[in-house]
């Protein structure tokens, strides 16, 4: 019934398709381009570095070098495992691992924000926003876990270690999954939205814990990159490019999914309205 669309009664229907939705496809393209550029930069521009600083040292703490002047790799104990450091291409994962992790934190923060907004207003729109932010967060959390696993395997030589940040991040992933399990276990939509919002807010408490843990627990194998002297310009540029690219991708995914869900809700609402007449 397109002709009745402008009637005031219809205004309460779920809507989507604002400016942000028109921007979304472009953001997706920009994001893809930037991450691809970042990918190439990571391999061909950024200088190779050692992921973990594990060099053989002499008694005075000087790094032992071979005849060509290269630092000698050594064994180090990480998470109860002896790890040999090799100058590896696996460090390139860092350029994706960190941006993806940052975006996942950001998505969780956005979700928590919408959870608060929902509890304040009880409008379905905010619940939808929170739910989709959580979905995006889940996607990026899983990506972080995958890249992180590759990192632990190839850099530290172990598949899994109960290291503080790994542990807290795993917990974060479980909480995000629990959020969706909870939503599935509730029938009444308003109650479902309220409970989910409460869990979303509580789940967010783990984000600062996870973010700060490498600063709080010094034994952590996760390097605090910015504190330990930062990165060279080539690494920084690559990282920022990928970060911006990932942000664009996340934003585009969010808006596209949001549009899809809102349209679905709109159809439901129209069905209900038709039923009433």
């Amino acid at each position: 019934m397109p002709d009745t669309k402008r009637q005031p009664k219809q205004r309460s229907l779920p809507e989507a398709g604002q400016m942000a939705d028109r921007v979304a496809p472009f953001a997706l393209i920009v994001g893809i381009v930037l991450t691809t550029v970042g990918f190439f930069l990571a391999f061909f521009y950024a200088a190779p570095v050692n992921g973990a600083e594990v060099y053989a040292r002499d008694a005075a703490g000087n790094i032992l070098r071979d005849s060509a002047g290269n630092a000698l790799p050594a064994l180090e104990e990480i998470g109860g495992q002896l790890v040999s450091n090799v100058l590896l291409i696996s460090q390139k994962i860092f350029y994706f691992h960190m941006p993806v992790a940052l975006v996942s934190f950001l998505a969780l923060a956005v979700a928590a924000f919408y959870c608060v907004r929902f509890l304040m207003t009880k409008q379905q729109r905010y619940d939808t926003c929170a739910r989709i932010s959580m979905e995006i967060a889940l996607v990026f959390v899983i990506c972080t876990m995958i890249t992180g696993e590759m990192w632990t395997r190839f850099e530290w030589g172990v598949w899994w270690t109960w290291e503080p940040r790994l542990t807290t991040y795993l917990i974060l992933m479980l909480v995000v999954i629990a959020y969706f399990v909870l939503r599935n276990a509730l029938d009444d939509p308003e109650r479902c939205a309220t409970y989910a919002a409460v869990v979303g807010i509580i789940a967010f408490v783990d984000v600062p814990i996870c973010f700060m843990i490498t600063r709080l627990v010094p034994s952590s194998v996760h390097p605090v990159v910015l504190r330990e002297g930062g990165m060279s310009a080539d690494m920084g540029i690559t990282l920022v490019l990928v970060l911006i690219g990932m942000l664009c991708v996340a934003f585009a995914l969010y808006r596209m999914r949001f549009r899809q869900v809102r349209m679905q809700e709109r159809v439901e609402a129209l069905k209900a309205a038709l039923d009433e007449e």
Binding site: T167, V175, A178, V181, L182, A185, E190, Y195, I201, I202
Partner: protein, 234 residues
Amino acid sequence: MATPSTFRQYKTLLVKDVRQEFRTKEMLTSMGIYALLVLIVYGAALAQTSNQLDILQMSGGLLWALIVFTSLLGLNRSFFAEKEQGCIEGILLAPLDRSVLFLAKATSNLLFLIIIEVIAVPLFWFFFLTTTTPAETFPLMVVPLIVGTIGVAGVGTLLSTITMNTRGKDVMLAVLFIPLIFPLLYACVSATTAVLVGGDTALNTFMLSLVLAAGYDIIMVLLSWVLYDFVISA
């Protein structure tokens, strides 16, 4: 007829929970038996360890695993009576602040958990630690037990209110409760193990872990308290 003071309402609700529990002993017996069963399973699991130090180092973790699983069982039951004949609605109809309800329920849960711990911890000791020599500092383990139990009761009360209305509530509570309680669990295990094993840095680790656990308690219990109104009214 004036609305009674908040404290009187709190006391009324608490007395109701305690009286009901002591009459049926549903929560306490099921938790107690479950704790005993977990200990028996531990017996089989640890039968092959010969080194005494191993047991001592694992004891903090084993004790907390026992507490977490037992309290999960108890928390699941804590809203059973409220839901059974719609009592929770009757309580919500009374002119009382919703946070009073949270505090009363959290207090009664805390009380029941402490009763179970008073039974289970000595039993654990009896079964596994009498052959070992714990460090002198072992009485300090009471502190992480109390701090941890407060957090478990606070967060658990909020989560069991949420899960009482869900399908498959038993699993649902575990799915929400265990990840959310994890940081607290981690800190409490580290504090308990530190005082049991002893050593030079034990007290430092103990203090740091306790501070973390207490911080978590404060944040989570406050958050649960604030959010309880939304949960119970939904």
